[in-house]
Amino acid sequence: MEKKELICIGCPLGCSVTVELEGSEILAVTGNTCRRGEDYARKECTNPTRIVTSTVPVDGGEIPQVSVKTASDIPKNKIFACMAELKKIRVKAPVRIGDVVLANAAGSGVDVIATKDVLGR
């Protein structure tokens, strides 16, 4: 049996939650003081996901870079693979909010999209 210690981010209370795992099966969640704590702990132990945000250089833009994000959350273990793919990318101005700058980031099925308008010079 494995034990994992987490801090719940559901509210400012920040409960210390302990999850007991057998392989990928959750045996018990303790330390949480509400339902949200248990939900958070289960998700964190089985399928933790995050939205990744970064920047990409823009050629011919009024500013040098455009800010980007994954359109939805991706598995936590794909964050660095997603960053590595973003490192190889340059885009051309103009760029509009919501434009796809990288499709299917790190095989996650999620696109990376622009979060800012960048017009041409």
């Binding site: 995050r50 945000t53 970064s54 040098p64 980007v68 909010i97």
Partner: protein, 420 residues
């Protein structure tokens, strides 16, 4: 001299929300003065997500949040002068500003809304021994370099202070390939949001060293390392606990200071705790017709609250200009027992809306307490709080009817007490 009903100083989230609210309240002549080359203020470099949960019920990045307000301001055709620096504001509301196209010019404003935001506490405010090598940045400067300019300030990083910008930059630098060795925090608790500690530090195995500080900066041309030490309850370094960490970059996230040089020129009364102007229920300063909102008033953790507060300032400035304004008794509003300050700090019930949000911070971490509101000696509300800390702004709501029902009321008090 040119005249204008409402001049808004600053085109960040506060200035934009204030200008939009003033326009929606029916003011035709509004001018926003912004010193940067674009609107949106600091949100432009806050590329991370987590903005707008309260306002839009969705999680936006900083630039996306800013864009919604910029578009609204454009729809309402609110004039904004960019790359324009305000030099002076007189108590009579004459605004002196300058830019490359118009040179120096003056505007007689009917009302002024101060929305200049805040700046970071610099290294000079800390007295850390050592030379002044390259490689020491405030966290926000590093954020601008990485996110706007596209430069990495360094590869081996230590961060002093666990404010939210420091935490966000710990993750950002890591994602860009740097190694963040530690985040040192002088206090026994973090000044940042819990969510940021988990998602920016724990996710990447970056240690948060509470009750630690930097006691020596090494290197002459370029930073070569820092010495960390544990601090005692008196916040003084404990001898024998020093630890040398080699690094080429030190980021400082050690507090924000409202940028009130212009407020000083007008001579408005300042609050010693917030370093912002003292304001009444309408967010009006001690100078008549001069309003303040956002981080120039008091430093916020969530932009959603800045937008709400600024909209109130805009609406009230509009009422002031249109003459829908009452002179009434001022009831003092105070914090007690752990409540460090309140915004506003005085209330004229005749001028307030049906409900008024009073925002404040507590001075320590409190568990299982209650937040109470007293009208003179009478307690009119209490709310149980499981946890409160200096890092998260709190609020209580005052009802106009409660205040009007008590003629002769002298003092309103917000207090943290032991739970009953």
């Amino acid at each position: 001299m040119r005249t204008c009903d409402i001049v808004v100083i600053g085109g960040g989230p506060a200035g934009l929300a204030a200008a939009i609210a003033a326009r929606e309240a029916g003011i035709s002549e509004i001018l926003v003065l912004e010193r940067d080359r674009c609107l949106g203020g600091i949100l432009n470099q806050c590329i991370h997500n987590g903005f707008g949960l309260h306002t839009f019920r969705e999680e936006l990045t900083g630039p996306e949040y800013a864009e919604r307000f910029i578009r609204r301001a454009e729809e309402l055709e609110i004039p904004c002068l960019l790359e324009t620096m305000v030099m002076d504001i007189t108590p009579g509301k004459v605004v002196t500003a300058m830019n490359r196209e118009d040179g120096v010019f003056q505007i007689q404003a009917g009302a002024v809304i101060l929305a200049m935001g805040c700046r970071e506490r610099p290294r000079g405010a800390l007295n850390i021994p050592g030379y002044r090598p390259a490689g020491i940045y405030s966290a926000g400067t590093a954020q601008r370099l990485v996110n706007i300019e596209g430069y990495m300030p360094g590869r081996e990083v230590v961060i002093l202070g666990s404010g939210d910008i420091g935490l966000i930059m710990a993750r950002r630098m890591t994602l860009e390939g740097a190694r963040v060795h530690a985040v040192a925090e002088l206090m026994p608790y973090s000044g940042g949001l819990k969510r940021n500690i988990v998602q920016c530090l724990d996710d990447y195995g970056i240690p948060l060293k509470l009750s630690h500080t930097v006691v020596q900066i090494h290197g002459k041309e370029r930073l070569t390392g820092v010495t960390l030490a544990k601090v005692g309850a008196d916040r003084k370094p404990v001898p024998g606990t020093e630890e040398f960490i080699p690094c080429d970059t030190l980021l400082l996230s050690v507090g924000l200071i409202p940028e009130n040089e212009l407020s000083g020129e007008i001579g408005v009364e300042m609050n010693r705790i917030t370093n912002g102007p003292s304001v009444n229920e309408s967010l009006e300063t001690s100078a008549e017709g001069v309003f303040a909102c956002g981080n120039v008033l008091h430093v916020h953790d969530l932009v959603d609250y800045v937008s709400q507060e600024a909209a109130l300032a805009g609406k009230n400035a509009a009422r002031y200009v249109m003459g829908d304004w009452k002179e009434g008794l001022r009831i003092q509003l105070e914090g007690k027992g752990g409540v460090r300050y309140t915004v506003p700090s005085a209330v004229c019930p005749e001028n307030m809306e049906d409900k008024l949000t009073v925002r404040f911070r507590v001075g320590d971490v409190y568990r299982d307490r209650q937040l109470c509101v007293y009208l003179d000696g009478e307690r009119i509300s209490r709310a149980k709080k499981r946890v409160m800390g200096p890092g998260e702004m709190e609020s209580v709501i005052l009802k106009k009817s409660d205040l009007l029902a008590r003629p002769g009321l002298q003092k309103i008090t917000v207090a943290v007490e032991e739970a009953e």
